[in-house]
């Protein structure tokens, strides 16, 4: 069995937030390798493996829409919780939305569909019973049955992602991108975050060629952090 999976994903909305515009969220034009990895991991993942994204096919025209919502400004401090734990009482441990409200706009993608092409690498946490075939088969079985650890999402959880497994030899779904939209320089895009090295973000120059984006290796030359 070849170490390669292809997953068709689609959804009504998506928000792959640009790190430089995260207060009033603005989405990238397409899904990032990092978000794609998250989607695969929502279906199957073990510490023994890592998903590596090879290619992203963009199937639908890139369209945006703006949504403004009332959001909470602050985060819950751990000290407040440990204080309450010591007191053995939850009294006073709450946050009032009206007092810490932020109205934020999000510029999100509409009506998206992609194909993610990826493979598995084994990590040093792999035990004796772990091998590529086992994990590929597990993923395939789950994806075909519509099973998942949790419903994958398009960047944020309010935008669920539907998925379907594309088997070997099966044709890719039709690309609905206009002919002249299939070549596009998407600029610098987040590749993924290096969790081993203090959560350093890595970026790559995303270029759409004939409707697909080839993702360079995470540690490759094209990737800068």
């Amino acid at each position: 069995m070849k170490n390669k999976v292809r997953l068709h994903i689609w959804g009504d909305y998506a928000c792959f937030t640009r790190p430089e515009m995260k207060v009033e969220r603005v989405s990238y034009d397409v899904i990032t390798p990092s978000a794609a990895r998250g989607i695969l991991s929502a279906i199957h993942w073990k510490p023994a493996i890592n998903w590596v994204i090879d290619k992203i096919y963009v199937l639908k025209p890139i369209q945006f829409e703006s949504i403004r919502r009332n959001e909470l400004g602050g985060k819950l401090p751990a000290s407040k919780v440990s204080g309450a734990m010591k007191r053995k009482s939850v009294e006073g441990l709450y946050t009032i939305i009206e007092e810490d409200r932020q109205q934020r706009a999000a510029t999100v993608l509409k009506n998206v569909a992609y194909v993610i092409e990826a493979h598995i690498v084994m990590t040093d946490k792999a035990g004796e019973g772990d091998n590529l075939t086992k994990h590929l088969e597990m993923f395939k079985r789950r994806a075909m049955k519509g099973q998942c650890f949790q419903q994958p999402c398009m960047g944020v959880r309010e935008f669920p992602a539907e998925f379907a497994f594309i088997d070997e030899g099966e044709a890719l779904p039709q690309c609905l991108l206009a002919e002249n939209d299939r070549q596009r320089d998407l600029g610098w895009m987040l590749h993924d975050i290096d969790f081993q090295h203090k959560n350093t973000p890595h970026f790559f120059r995303a270029k759409m060629q004939d409707g697909s984006i080839t993702v360079p290796p995470f540690m490759g030359e094209e990737v800068v952090s």
């Binding site: 407040k80 440990s82 539907e162």
Partner: protein, 287 residues
């Protein structure tokens, strides 16, 4: 015991002469998809109502505290007094070791219904201070395009003394004459395992979906009613079917097939659930 099955649900609610969810970008007009003119209600709007309902009904039950509160449903004065007496702010920022962080997260999950179901972000730096809840809502969308109506209203009083000779002020109110909304939800058994979301919590969630609009009446909302709640229960914790295939089984039609006229009430719609040939998934219509 945490839930052992994956669930999906389709939830319908409608609004009559009210504004289900105002858009801050559009002067509080009802939210709309600009392309299709279909009405939207955000996920957070519905989660807010669930929180309010749980707080209202289970305020004194241990484990059903609500972390993100709204003033209107809060007996603030009591709690403020308590807070003044007993909160000792700590200088330390964050537990360094992961075990401690996990303990904090677990404690929050145990005590707070909203943390256990929807998750919460607690602090930074340590990743385990972040809880991803099992219950996930998508945006609610109306079945047909909505036509918001803006009404001008008058008030026979003024706020400022300098406006005294005006005698009255005017305001605006935007309503949707009628709209039936549909929303999809997901509940992951595997994430429930991590936060301790139990069968009892699930029952309370269903109850909230059934009754939450009954406790959320206001001048702006008009009449909002929960109309249907279709629950898909998978035998397997990971699920037995694709979510989208289950959602496709719930269809909505206009009773007389006439879509040229806007719908005026729930009677104009027929919701049907196709349960043929479902394996590994049971369907329950709670409303």
């Amino acid at each position: 015991m945490t839930i052992q099955n994956r669930y999906e649900f389709v939830y319908f609610f409608d609004v009559t002469n009210g504004n289900p969810n105002g858009d801050p970008d559009a002067g509080n007009l009802p939210r709309m998809d600009p392309e299709t003119s279909k009405g939207l209600v955000t996920d957070v709007c519905l989660k807010r109502k669930i929180r309010n309902f749980i707080e209202l009904c289970y305020e004194n039950e241990p484990g059903y505290e609500i972390y993100v509160k709204e003033k209107s449903v809060l007996n603030l004065q009591n709690k403020r007094a308590y807070e003044a007496l007993s909160i000792k702010p700590e200088a330390k920022k964050l537990p360094k070791d992961e075990a401690k962080a996990r303990e904090i997260t677990a404690w929050m999950c145990k005590n707070f219904f909203d943390v256990r179901s929807f998750g919460a972000v607690m602090t930074t730096e340590v990743n385990s201070g972040q809880v991803r809840g099992p219950v996930q809502f998508a945006f609610a969308q109306s079945i047909d395009p909505i036509v918001p109506v803006e009404l001008s209203i008058t008030r026979m009083a003024v706020t400022n003394e300098k406006d005294l000779e005006k005698e009255r002020t005017m305001g605006r109110k935007a309503i949707v004459p009628y709209g039936l909304y549909r929303v999809h939800g997901f509940i992951s058994a595997k994430l429930a395992e991590k936060t301790g979301f139990s069968d009892d919590d699930l029952q309370k969630l269903w109850q909230a979906l059934q009754l939450m609009f009954e406790h959320d009446h206001s001048a702006a909302r008009g009449e909002m009613v929960a109309r249907k709640l279709v629950v898909f229960k998978h035998q397997d914790a990971l699920g037995n079917q694709s979510a989208h295939k289950l959602f496709e089984r719930v269809t909505v039609e206009r009773v007389n097939g006439d879509t040229a006229m806007p719908a005026q009430s729930f009677d104009d719609y027929r919701i049907s659930v196709n349960t043929d040939g479902l394996t590994g998934v049971t369907v329950e219509e709670l409303i």
